[in-house]
């Protein structure tokens, strides 16, 4: 961008609700009764509750073993990475909207005759990075305690929870589930540690200083 209007706020200063607005929810399946629900951290839900002994299905009262959560979390992360690597591109010209996995030898050129639009990855690396950060936030004890998580439901949603959780029980439940959350988080961190978007390429930033 050019000028003051083109300035973007620092990524880290954007609240999670805004930053994760396009992130997909983490869907969990109850290994006992096959109920599926969205997991949104230690928040109120009609489908699950966090007990002092871990995640519990409200329908059948099954208590999830840590591996039963972590396997689904890891599978979910890997599906997102694989979808990213499927490499779908989309033309930014709304009158064209070409969606394809074909890449021209001039990467950004649209392959439809005469179209001057610019091709972009439909699943961008920024979106994937934010998706991983969203999964990470769900198991972040500080964010859970401070009620900073992106809400799963909004007032008026069919699934809007009937009961609310009060702050002191959230704090207590977070502490009780700290070990579980640390193991959940280690699964997300494994992939964040390989995510190139997290690392700034100093070489390209200071490219202009190199002698030619």
């Amino acid at each position: 961008g050019s000028g003051i209007n083109g300035l973007q706020p620092l990524e880290s200063t954007i609240p999670d609700t805004e930053r994760f607005k396009d992130a997909a929810n983490l869907k969990l399946n109850c290994p006992n009764c096959s109920a599926t629900f969205d997991f949104g951290g230690i928040v109120a839900s009609n489908y699950y509750s966090m007990s002092y002994n871990g995640l519990q299905c409200k329908k059948c009262e099954h208590l999830f073993a840590p591996l039963q959560i972590n396997s689904q979390l890891e599978r979910s992360i890997r599906s997102h990475i694989s979808l990213y690597y499927a490499g779908w591109l989309q033309c930014d010209d709304p009158t064209c909207g070409n969606v394809t996995r074909q890449i021209s030898v001039f990467g950004k050129r649209c392959l439809n005759d005469g179209c001057t639009g610019v091709m972009r990855y439909r699943y961008s690396d920024k979106k994937l990075y934010n998706q991983l950060l969203y999964f990470d936030s769900l198991f972040n004890c500080e964010k859970n305690k401070n009620c900073e998580l992106k809400p799963l439901y909004h007032t008026g949603d069919r699934d809007f929870p009937q009961e609310k959780l009060n702050e002191s029980s959230i704090k207590a439940l977070t502490e009780q589930n700290r070990n579980l959350f640390e193991s959940n988080r280690s699964v997300v961190q494994k992939y964040l540690s390989d995510c190139a978007r997290r690392y700034v390429d100093m070489g390209s930033i200071f490219d202009f200083m190199q002698q030619r």
Partner: protein
């Protein structure tokens, strides 16, 4: 160079991807020009109208970018930036009797663009096969001595190692016992997935309780350490084990092809285990092995034209394509696996993405044949039927998966290669200042595909 596979993932740059795709055409164009001794003036831009016949090199692409299901009537040729400013032109194949094409293939074609709209091909020039590796007399004798005259024995197995409805590793336990007491190979090549992240029980979270364990595994990495690694540790230490990962391996955080090697220490495996990248080219004695763990045999949706071409075995044709393209996975775009979901929105089919070839396009250079020569043995596991065959003096093997999806015994490949001998006439001498020898592994090897 294994260090080159250590790049961080999840950041593909479209311009870098395009550079690589352009380069692929240019590399083959140069090979074709040298091989057929053509002059630069015999090449032309096939996308523009011309009076005379020209040669062109380009990539086979669909005529319409949004079309994924193509046939020989709906193909186009993509030019490089240099040859035709990257333009694509419809291919007219009426005058070509015999040819086999697939999306992503780089081809050399002779023909004419008479009307400006399409390139009418008259002949496809077969791409030359790459050279085979050679060794000096000294090297051969060293390897011969090391083997004591016995054949080199290599066993190959491919995951998944459990059925779709269990995490029971008893097939693997039994096989390790046979490996130690009966098969006794010099080396075991083991392809992932070790723990398959697309396993239905992982997706559903229905992993069982493991009653024999004191503390239950918390993560999939932990599941490997507590349940699978103890079985693998029983492989005798004089058997060299080579691990090649899969992009479906839960144990790899590098979920893209080309793929970095697994971490032996993190997997707590002993020193007779070696972790290699995917793909990997390496030598056991004089024999060059090329290993790639993406399902090229399934994903090349090849379109044969002509009776003689169609009559041939499909695996023969695909094997030749791999050798001619000089890359383990020449398909582009890469294959994807998706599942049709039951809920259709307004009549539209909705799919869930499951997995794919997961190509990291900017790094595809790492999937080309190393040093521009062909390995003696190429191992590419596939979901298709197991096979072992000789193609252009290269042994191509698909060992088949170790355990079938519903728990039935799968297969493995047993390779036995007689020790190299300068005197028995099985090695071809190539004269020169220092004479060298072709390995002729295809004449010396026996491959059995057996039940586990």
């Amino acid at each position: 160079d294994p260090e080159k596979y250590k790049f961080r993932t999840m950041r593909q740059n479209l311009s870098d991807a395009a550079d690589v795709l352009d380069m692929q055409i240019e590399i083959i164009a140069e090979i074709v020009q040298n091989h057929y001794k053509l002059s630069a003036s015999e090449f032309g831009d096939p996308t523009i109208q011309a009076q005379s016949e020209i040669h062109a090199v380009g990539r086979i692409v669909p005529e319409s970018p949004s079309d994924e299901s193509v046939n020989t009537e709906s193909l186009a040729l993509e030019t490089s930036r240099m040859a035709g400013i990257g333009r694509r032109v419809r291919l007219n194949l009426t005058d070509v009797n015999e040819v086999s094409l697939f999306l992503g293939q780089i081809v050399a074609v002779k023909g004419k663009n008479a009307d400006g709209d399409s390139f009418k091909a008259t002949e496809f020039l077969p791409l030359p096969y790459p050279e085979s590796p050679v060794s000096t007399a000294d090297e051969i004798q060293t390897h011969q001595k090391a083997l004591n005259g016995d054949p080199l024995k290599v066993t190959v197995i491919t995951g998944p190692f459990t059925s779709n409805d269990s995490f029971d590793f008893s097939h693997l336990t039994n096989f390790v016992e046979r490996l130690n007491t009966e098969i006794k190979p010099h080396a075991l090549i083991m392809f992932g997935p070790l723990i398959d992240v697309t396993h239905p029980m992982i997706a559903a979270g229905t992993l069982p309780h493991f009653p024999h364990l004191k503390s239950q595994p918390q993560t999939l990495d932990d599941l490997f350490l507590k349940v699978m690694a103890p079985i693998l540790k029983n492989i005798r230490s004089n058997i060299q084990v080579i691990l090649i990962p899969s992009t479906r391996d839960a144990l790899s955080k590098h979920a893209a092809y080309p793929q970095d090697s697994l971490d032996r220490k993190a997997l707590q495996l002993p020193k007779n285990f070696k972790c290699f990248a995917n793909p990997a080219t390496f030598q056991l004695n004089e024999v060059f092995f090329g290993c790639s763990n993406v399902d090229t045999f399934k994903d090349i949706k090849e379109m044969p034209k002509g009776g003689n071409t169609s009559m041939r075995d499909r695996f023969d044709r695909v094997s030749e394509h791999i050798l001619q393209q000089r890359r383990y996975y020449p398909v582009f775009p890469g294959g994807i696996t998706k599942k049709l979901l039951p809920n259709t929105e307004g009549g539209n089919k909705v799919y869930e993405h499951i997995s794919g070839a997961d190509l990291d396009v900017p790094y595809l250079g790492l999937t080309e044949f190393v040093g521009n020569f062909t390995p003696d043995i190429i191992l590419i596991p596939s979901e298709m039927n197991h096979f072992a065959k000789v193609e252009q003096n290269v042994i191509m093997i698909n060992p088949g998966r170790f355990v079938k999806p519903w728990g039935h015994q799968g297969t493995y490949a047993d390779i036995s290669i007689s020790a190299p001998d300068l005197d028995n006439g099985k090695l071809t001498k190539i004269e020169g200042p220092e004479p060298v020898y072709l390995h002729n592994v295809w004449k010396r090897a026996r491959v059995d595909i057996a039940n586990i």
